[in-house]
Structure formats: structure tokens, C-alpha cells
Symmetry: none
Subunit: 499 residues, 2 copies
Amino acid sequence: MELNEAVAKFKENVKLLKAYYHAMGVMSYDIETVAPKNAIGGYSDTMAVFSEVTYKLTVNEDNFALLDFLAEHENELDEITRRGAEEARRGLKFMRSIPMDEYVAYQRLVNEASSVWHDAKVENDYPKFEPYLNKLVDYSVRFAKYAEPDMDPYDYWLNEYEKGFTKEVLEGYFAKVRETLVPLIRRVTEAKRPDDGFLKKNYPVWKQRIFSDELMKIMGIDRRDCGIGETEHPFTTGFNKHDVRITTHYHEDAVASSMYSVIHEGGHAIYEMGTADELGETMLASGASCGMHESQSRFYENIIGRSRAFVDLVLPKMKEIFPEELEGVTGEQFYRAINIAEPSLVRTEADELTYSMHVLIRYEIEKKLFSGELSTKDLPAEWNRLYKEYLGVDVPSDKEGCLQDSHWSGGGFGYFPSYSLGSAYGAQMLNAMKKELDVDALVRNGEISRITEWLREHIHKYGMLKDPKELLMISCGEEFKPEYYLDYLTKKFSELYGL
Amino acid sequence: MELNEAVAKFKENVKLLKAYYHAMGVMSYDIETVAPKNAIGGYSDTMAVFSEVTYKLTVNEDNFALLDFLAEHENELDEITRRGAEEARRGLKFMRSIPMDEYVAYQRLVNEASSVWHDAKVENDYPKFEPYLNKLVDYSVRFAKYAEPDMDPYDYWLNEYEKGFTKEVLEGYFAKVRETLVPLIRRVTEAKRPDDGFLKKNYPVWKQRIFSDELMKIMGIDRRDCGIGETEHPFTTGFNKHDVRITTHYHEDAVASSMYSVIHEGGHAIYEMGTADELGETMLASGASCGMHESQSRFYENIIGRSRAFVDLVLPKMKEIFPEELEGVTGEQFYRAINIAEPSLVRTEADELTYSMHVLIRYEIEKKLFSGELSTKDLPAEWNRLYKEYLGVDVPSDKEGCLQDSHWSGGGFGYFPSYSLGSAYGAQMLNAMKKELDVDALVRNGEISRITEWLREHIHKYGMLKDPKELLMISCGEEFKPEYYLDYLTKKFSELYGL
């Protein structure tokens, strides 16, 4: 095989696969946002056909040989092609290591487990879900062993979601998180709770939709490249840098819920829209990792969106849309209300301060499930014990407890830590950014696009060309340091609560 | 080849192709409804890949041989398989005749032309769109010649959209339409115009959305099978009988516009949802022809939706949503207002009486474009001349003139006549239906589903198993007769205007 022939073949494959992923992405988005309920039957058929086609396009001897050949010649490839081929081979390595029948059985299990989890959550019936969870853990341990026999299985999955962040790093990280946050949360809990009654008035949905458009405008999001839909659970999906979709949910009595969903998902969208044009024809035009993606969404949501400066920017515009609802509310009142911190039960609704504690609890549980120290049968008790110990709350039911998240039902173990790491990356980036930009002044003046430019130049444009650790080095000039995050939280919440 | 093997292979192909058509359908719907503007670039690439894949799946020697083999054994096939194979072979005949590179280039042109048309219409810039239109006409003439060298190209397309209705039939049909309607419209224009000021008050969009849901409920549409979106130009698309989508547009000062779009598109949707379950795995689970589809949409929109009985049903519900806007409006006033007939500029906003004149104008223009008698450059002048001659109106701008419809930008020539034929079919069906049902009483009592059952039994369930002419025979017991339509219009509007 000639190298240029091999490269052309590889690019042709990528083009073809991208078309299928694009179509499957649009169909998934459609299901989540606007499809009628019974559309699901036709969709299963079509998705099954496409899964099979893409599987066959990827997992075949010709493709193995092609990627092995490119790997042998990696020094002769340009950076983008090399990285693309490497990533494709990495993904394939996993597929090659799993016996086909086990893979098929696993896919079936995941489909069933997702459906059972949905019901179990509604019915608050953990024992219904437990056998599935048990099998999912088994498969995940076994598959990790197939893929990397010499690696600890949980480390394997942690490394898959966030390269370089195995237990060794995370133990140190979470120890510091626990040390700092447990006492800080306790002191905050004892302090006076600010008033947020005005956020719970009736905010009509049709006005909230107008407000979402306004928020996206404030964030500098080009609506020609980014749409917005409505789903129970907000998410972001990007088909290419000129076609990104965010979703939000509207609750009439909780205007801040949609507001911060839009800003959070808007952060994900800005990342997708900021990848370099040169990556457009590759599979690399997306975020570097889950943690890096969360770093951007949580940066816009919390570091920008819940800052005092942002309130000065947004509140006057918000009052134009909701003049009666927000009558007489001052910037300081609004700032305090959107930053109320208190121990709670549900991760997705947790505030900026307590959020990482929810992640820590999941990390500890996953670690023990994978080591065999904890059985799925004993999981609810351990979950509840940890919530009491770290957050001081009693978990009244499994549906508000260990059944709350969908991740495990989809076979996703080792993903949760990236949520917390993302927050920590963001605080470290803020520190670096502040050496060059007056962040508060830019926000207050409505120049958020200047901040986005900085992030684009240091993070977004690279897409998946770099690992998270490399991106931290590029953007911050130093290795990962959790201290920035913990200092940021300590300073912000000490001031807010007068500690 | 064994016959059962051949049938299995055919069904396998259908399953595969259905997956691609499903995906392409969803992507098209997404583009029209919610995709951000710049999504079009990525979509062009993906659609091009899928067009190529489906082309290759269809246009290949194995498939020709398979379909030829099935045709030779057609007497041994069940009705559904036979019809499916026949239709596939008929479609293939077209595909076989088009060189692959021209087909792909054409698909790309259509995608671009649609986007350019959108801009050209907004900017009232016909010259921007003209080169695309010119190419589209060229392609359509050329493709028709490839497919049927001995047939007149415009006849080819007319027959594609409405089997058996070529120029020969249409010349006679449109002559009668012109003969009856031109003088009738003149008399109506001279009569006193009823008041419709109350329809032009401010009807907030968010309330109109609620009203759309109510209308779909009144029509008996199961929302688990049918969604609703928003587009400038309303349409319906069905992926299978359990996943149909309609769209509408909202104008605050024209509540009847969305109202009758919803009922019209709802009629299309009811047709798609009413196809027999047995057709689900085939390509036949859709309307028999464009005209037959329009017969259903216009039946619900005009014959049902603009009847005096329907006003008695809908007005009280409408007053619950719009109590102030409709205060004091009587059923009789409402009935007269929604049936105001007067020459106008825009086909989709045209009333029931003048509608077919808009179609006639397009028919005459298409005929001349295809014969070469008219160039795309001269199209606006010819358009404006015909509107003056037949409807007596001056066209003030191309965006209200020849740029108003999307059809040509999508390569659809020969489609327009089916709108008028559909109206005529509907009137003929009403006549047949009245022999069995008290249509007015059913509507007045909110039992529209009884009418739908009749249509389902006589039309919908057959899907594409029968040609339009056969369906007319099944449902009406006689051949196509335009007199029912012209009598219906004459009677209705003579009464309304006291002629």
C-alpha cells in the first residue's frame, strides 16, 4: 500500500462515517426534542440498520490493516491526520478486543437496562434495576480487562473519559476537595440563607423563551450556527461547528433553572463552534474530553454566569422581559439568590459550592463497585450513608438517591469525576486568563466574546488534537492544580456568606 | 434464483432503503423547522453521501436483475409485494436512465437552490434565484428525456405526479375551470365583501399554538403519532404511520392563516396515519399521488373546515382561547369571514374559489418553460401578466409573485396541477360520501372521526396500492368528473354572496 493511497482511503472512510454519525445525531436530537411519542418504533429500526452499517464499516480486517499501516508511518503524517488515525485506532482497539457475541449481548443489556432504569426511577424500585446494574458492572470490569489486561479496570474507564486522570490523581484531588469543602459547606449551612422568593414567582414560558434568545445573544452565540430546543434534561449536541444545538427546560416557577441551563449548554456549544476550520473534515472537531467540555460549560455557567459582574449585565435586560416579576430586585439581591448554597439530594440541581461533593460520592461508590468492596445490593445504603456523612442530608428515597442519574444504566462508569474536574480546570483557566484580561470589566461591559476569544485561542480551536493535560499546559502554563478551584470557592462563598 | 429468495432479497433491500429515506426525511424536516441557518453546509455533504449510497443500493445490475425477475413472476406474488416491486422498478427505470454524476450534481443543486430561494424571497431578489431556476428546468427537461425519450418532458413530470393526468386531460380540465370560475369570480368581486376585521385583530402567537393543539384534537389526530412544527411554508411529512409531522406558520394579525394551515396539513397527516398496517414494511405506506394527497388536505381544509357546520363546532372552543378577540362574533359572521373570496396574490393564502386560478397560472408557465416558449429571465413578466389577465390583480413584487412558492426551488415542476385536481377529487368524494353519511350533522356534533373512517376505508388504507383513477372508482364508483367541483363552488359561493 502507498502512504498517500492509505491516507486517501482513511479520509474517505471518515467522510462516510461522519455522514452516518451526522444522521444518527440528528435523529437522536429529533427524538429528544420534537418527535411524537410513537416515532420510537420506526427509529429503532433505522438506528439498528445504521449501527450495523457503521459497525461493518469500522470493524473489519481492511480497516485494521489500514490503521496499523498508518500507525507504522505516523512520523510521515501531518499532525491532524496522525491524531485522527491514532484516535480511530484507539477506539478500534477496544472493539477488536471484545468477542462479538459479548459485544452484542452487552448492547442489548444496555438497551434493556436504560428502559428498566426509567421505570425503576419512576416507581422508586431499586431492586428492579439492581440485577441490571450488577451485570453492567461485570461487563465493564471484563471489557476493561479485555482491552487492557494489565490495567486496573476502573482506571481503564477513568482514563477513557479523562486521559491521564486515573485513581492515583483523583485520590489526591478528591481528598483536597473533601478537606476544603466539607467544613466550608458546614459553615455556609449555618449562615443566614438569602431570599430567592422572586425567582420562584410565575415566569410565563413564552417570555422565558424570549429570555433564552437574549441570553444566547449576550453570550455572543451566533444563532446561524446554533439552535435551541426543549427537553426534560438539557443537553448539547454538535454535528459540526456550524450546526450545534442546545436544549433547555422551562418551569414557570423556576426562572433560574432554564436560565442557567441555557448558559451551561451555551458554554458547551461555544466550545463546539470554536474548533478550528481545519478539523472540519475529521472526527476531531469536538471537545478534547468530557472534563474539558464540562470546564467550558461550567465556566460560562458559574464563573461568568453567577458572577456579580454578570448580574450587572443581565439584570437590566431581564427586567425588560420580566418587569413585574423582578420589580424592585437589586443586583446584590439577585447575585445572592442565584448563589444560594445548601446541601441537597440531586446532583443536577446542586449549587456551585456543593456540586463536587455529589461527584465525590459517586466516585467513591464506583471505585468500590469495581474493586468488589461494594455489591450492587448494598449500594443504596452506602449512597445514603455518604450523603449523610458529606452533605448532612437524609436521602428519603432511592429515586432521589442512587437512581437519580442515567449514566450507570447506559454503562457509563468513570464519567462522573469529569464533571468535577471540569469545574477545577475552569478555575485554573480563570486564573491564567486574568493575567491577560480584566474579566469582570469585560463581563460587565457585555464583552463576553473577548473571553470566548481567549478560550478559543487556548482551548477550543484544538478540538481533540490535544489531551486535557496538554491543554491545561497550553492555556495555564502549568499542570493541573486543584488549589485554584478550592481557593475560588472559598473566596466566593466566604464573601457571599460573610464567613 | 428461487422466487422466495428473490422476495426475501427484495424485502431486505426495502428495509435498508427505508432506513436511509427515513434519515434523509428527518434531516430535511430538521432543516426546514429547527436547524440553524448554517447547518446547510454539513447537510449538503451528508445528503450527498446518502444520495450516493442509496443510488448505489438501487441502481445496480443485481437489483435490475432482481426486479426484472420479480416482474417475470408477478402472477405468483401477493398483491403488496407485486405492487411494491412494480413501483420500485418504475422508479428504477428513471434512476437507470440518469448518469450517476448528473444525479449527484442535481441533488447538490437542489440543496443549494432551496437555500438561495429562501434568501432571494426575503430580499425580493429574483435575479439571485434565476440562474438556479434555469438550471433546475434544464435538469428536469434532460432527466425526463433520459427517462422517456419519446414523451413530452412536461407530460413526463405531470404523469409522475398524477398518473394519467397529462396535458391532454389537463387542457380540458382547466378549460372548464376557467370557463366557470372567471365569470363567477367576477360576480363575487362585484358583490358586497363581508366583514372580517375580527380575524385581523392581534392574536398572540403563544395562544395560536394552543389553538393548533385544539384543532388537531377536533380533527381526531392522535398526537402520539403526529407532531407539529413551525415553518414559513407549511407542509407535512410522514416517516411511517406512527411518525407524521405537520408544520404551520403564525401571524399575529391573521389567525385564520395558521388555523387553515393546520387543518390542511392535518388532512395530509390523517392520510399518512390511515395507511394499512400491512404496508408498514413496504414503500407503499403513503398517499397514492400528489393529487390524491391534496384531495384529502383540501377536503378537511375547505369542504369540512370552511363549512357552516364546522363553524358551529369550532367557534365556541375558539372563543375559550380568544375570548376578547372574538367577543360578539356570531357563527354566521365567522362563516362569511372565512369564506371571503377575492382575487389575490399568494396561492397559499388564496380562498377556495380563486385557488384553482393560481394553479392554472403556474400550469401555463411551467408548460411554456418546458417547451422553451418562456425563459426563466422572462418569467416574472409573464407571471405578472397572467395574474392581471385571470385575476385582475397587479403583482407589486416578485416575493409576492413568482418567488412565493418553494416547489421550483426543490426541482418540483408539474406538481401544481395536483393541487387543483385534489380539490376536484374532494368534491367528487363528498358527493359519494353524502350517499352514506350525514356529513354536516357529523361535523356539527364533533364526530369528524366518522368522516375520517369513511375516507380511511375508501382511500387511506390503500396507500400507494392503487392509482388515483382506481381510487376514484373505488370511492366514488365512477371516473373523474370535474363537474362536482365546479357545481360545489358555484352553489356555495352563489349562496354566500346572494348571486
